[in-house]
Symmetry: C2
Subunit: 348 residues, 2 copies
DNA sequence: CCCTCGATAGAAAGCGCTTTCTTTCCTGAG
DNA sequence: CTCAGGAAAGAAAGCGCTTTCTATCGAGGG
C-alpha cells in the first residue's frame, strides 16, 4: 500500500541503509548512487515516515510554539516571525526541514501543560513559550518540572516574553522590558500634566500584567502622584470598553487612561466616545505593544513599541541553535515610547 | 535514561501489552490491574513515546491547520475556534487528546506544499486548509495530488474558505459566500447613490480575491453602472493605504471605495484622512469580514460579516468526525451585510 | 464432576527507519 | 606485483509501541 524505504531501495537496487543515508545526507554516498536513489524516490513518490524516523533517531523535526491567544496579533506577529526563522535555518538532519507549529493555550494553564506533554510525546526538537505566565506557584512548579524534563530529553526550550524559570538554567529566555516601558509611558502622561490616571490592567496573576502595573506605579510614586483607579480584565477590546465605565464611575474626573495593551486601548477609546468624551480632548488614552492598527486608529495611539517581529525571529533562532544557551541566557528586549495623537495635555 | 512502557510494565508486574491496553483503554482490563498500572505510570512519570506509538498504530494524534497568515486575526479567529473544537472532541484513542497545530504558509504555495508533506510524514490524523487558494493550475494540481495522497493514507482533509478540489470528493469543504456578500455590499453602495466606486482587491490569482471581485462586478453590471478603478495588493493595511493613492489618481472623483477586507479598509481610511478627505463625508469606505476592531474604527466600518468563529468550529468538527464527509461535502457559509458609519450617500 | 465459554493477561511479531559494525572494492605506495 | 588503507555499500540490530494470536483461570451448564 504505502511506499516504504525498502521499496525505494529495491527500485534503486541498493540497500535500505543507503537510501536512508542519501535522504539524510550525513554520510558519503557516491554521486551516481545518490542520483539513482533520488530518482527512485521521485518515481515512487516516496514520503519518509516521520514517526518511524523519529523513533529510530530518537528525535523529531517538530518545533512547538505555544501562545496564549492565537487570535491576538501580538502573538500572531511573534509566532509568524519565529516560524520563518525556524524554516530558514535548514541546518539540521533530514534535509533540515523543521515543522514549526503553533499551539494555542488560550491562556489556560491546563492546556499549556497538556500541549507540553503532547510535545514531549512527539519528542519535539524545541519548544518556544510565548507570552506572560500565570503566577500561580503550583502551576509555575508544574511548568518548571515539565520544562526540565523536556530539556533533559534533549528538547530545546525558549521562553519569549516570560521570565526565566528560577531553578532552571537550561532554557534560553527573552524578556520584554514591560516595567520600564510602562514607566516611560506614565512619565509621559505625568509630563503632560495628568494627575488623575486610570489603569485598565490585564488578567490578574500574570507576569506581564504585574510588570506593566509595577512600572506604572513606579512612575507615579516617583512623581508623588496618587494612584488612580485600576480595573483588571482580559486582553481584548470589550475589556477596555467595560472597564472604562467602571473607571469613570470610580473617578469621574479622570484625565487619562492607560490600557494594558493597544487592543484594550481601542475599546477604551470607543467607550469614551460613546459617552461623548473626546480623545485626547477630554481624556488621553495610551496603549502598549504598538500593533499595526495602532497607527491607523483615530486618534492614532500613543503606545510603547515592542519589537515583536525581531523578538520572534530571535526566539526562533535560539530554538534552532544547537549551541548551549548563552550564559544564564536571559536577554532583555527594550520597549520604546511612541507618542502619537491619543495623548495630550489635560484640559484647563 | 528515559522511562519506557516496559519499565512501567515491570513495575506494575504485568506485561507491556497490558500497559498499552490500559493507556489506550480499548480493551478490557481488570480494575485492580488498571489501577496498579496507572500508579506505576504516575510513579515513574511515564510519558508515551509518540513516534513509537504512531509507528506501531500507523496513525498519530496530530491535526494540522494551515493558514495563509497567522498574524491576521481573520485566520487567528478561525484557527483558534478550530483548535478548541478539536481539543474538546476527546473521542479518539489514546485518551483522544489530539494535538491541533497551526502552520503558517504565509500564502506561499511552496510552503503550503512543504507543510502538507511534513504533515503527511507525521501521518497526521487530519489536515485543515484555511483561506483562499492560489489559482495557478500547476500548483492547484500539485495540491490536489497531495491531498488525495493524504486522504488515501487515512488523513482527514477539510477545506475551509477555499473551493473543493474538482476531482476529489474525499475532502469536506466549507466555503464562504464571498460572491454574494460582495454583491450585497456593492448593492448597498449603489443604493446609496454611488456611481464611481473604486476597488482595492486582494492578491491576484487567489480564489477569495476573484470571488469578491466577481460579486462586486455582478452588482455593478446588474445596475448598469460602469466599473471603477481596481488595484490589487496583499491583505494588509499598507496595501489599502498605497492603493488609495493609485485609485484617486485614476479617478479623482470617486465617491466610494470597497476594500478586499477590513484591514485593507482601515488603510484606505487612513490614506483618505491624510489627504483631507472625510469618511464617509467625501468618500464612503467598506470592508469585508467584520473583524473585532471594525466596530471600534472611526468611523465604524460597513462590512460583510463572516461567521469566522462558527466556521472554525465547524471545520474542527469535520476534521474530527470519523464518518465519511457528507454527500459531496460542500457547505456554504453565508455572509451578512453590516451597515455602519463608514458608508453614506455621496455628496449632493 | 468435566467441559465449554467468557474474561483477562501474556507472547511475540512486526511498524519503517537509523546506525554501528562489516564487507567489498579500488587506489596507490612499496 | 603485493598489500595497506580508505571510500562506499550492505547486514542487522534495535528504537518503543500496538496488536494479533494464545494461554490461563473461573464459573456455570450438562
Amino acid at each position: 500500500m504505502t511506499v516504504t524505504l525498502a521499496d525505494v531501495a529495491a527500485r534503486a537496487r541498493v540497500s535500505p541503509a543507503t537510501v536512508s543515508r542519501v535522504l539524510n545526507g550525513n554520510y558519503p554516498v557516491a554521486a551516481s548512487t545518490r542520483e539513482r536513489v533520488l530518482r527512485a524516490v521521485d518515481e515512487l513518490d516516496y514520503v519518509l515516515n516521520g514517526p518511524a524516523s523519529a523513533l529510530a533517531a530518537a528525535t523529531s523535526d517538530l518545533v512547538g510554539v505555544l501562545v496564549n491567544d492565537i487570535a491576538d496579533p501580538f502573538f500572531g506577529i511573534m509566532a509568524s516571525a519565529a516560524q520563518s526563522a525556524i524554516g530558514e535555518s535548514a541546518t539540521g538532519r533530514g534535509g533540515g526541514e523543521k515543522l514549526a507549529v503553533v499551539c494555542n493555550t488560550g491562556g489556560s494553564p491546563e492546556r499549556e501543560l497538556t500541549y507540553l506533554t503532547l510535545l514531549q510525546r512527539q519528542r519535539a526538537a524545541a519548544v518556544i513559550l510565548m507570552g506572560g505566565a500565570l503566577e500561580d506557584p503550583e502551576h509555575l512548579a508544574a511548568t518548571a518540572g515539565k520544562l526540565t524534563k523536556l530539556s533533559e530529553a534533549g528538547t530545546r526550550v525558549v521562553l519569549c516574553g516570560r521570565p526565566p524559570v528560577p531553578g532552571d538554567a537550561s532554557a534560553a529566555a527573552l524578556v520584554f522590558d514591560n516595567r520600564s516601558g510602562a514607566r516611560q509611558l506614565t512619565e509621559h502622561l505625568l509630563g503632560l500634566g495628568h494627575r488623575r490616571i486610570g489603569y485598565v490592567a490585564g488578567p490578574t496573576d500574570r507576569t506581564t500584567t504585574r510588570h506593566r502595573l509595577e512600572g506604572h506605579r513606579e512612575a507615579l510614586a516617583a512623581a508623588g502622584v496618587a494612584e488612580g483607579p485600576t480595573v483588571h480584565g482580559p486582553y481584548d477590546r470589550s475589556s477596555g470598553h467595560e472597564a472604562t465605565a467602571e473607571l469613570l464611575a470610580r473617578d469621574p474626573h479622570l484625565t487619562a487612561v492607560v490600557a494594558a495593551n493597544d487592543t484594550v486601548a481601542l475599546g477604551v477609546c470607543a467607550a469614551l466616545r460613546e459617552r461623548g468624551l473626546s480623545v485626547p480632548g477630554d481624556v488621553s488614552v495610551a496603549g502598549f505593544d504598538d500593533l499595526p492598527f495602532s497607527t491607523d486608529a483615530v486618534p492614532s495611539l500613543t503606545t510603547v513599541r515592542l519589537p515583536l517581529h525581531e523578538a520572534g525571529v530571535r526566539a526562533g533562532r535560539l530554538a534552532m541553535s544547537t549551541t548551549e544557551p548563552p550564559a544564564d541566557g536571559v536577554e532583555t528586549v527594550p520597549g520604546e515610547l511612541v507618542v502619537r495623537g491619543s495623548t495630550a495635555a489635560p484640559r484647563g
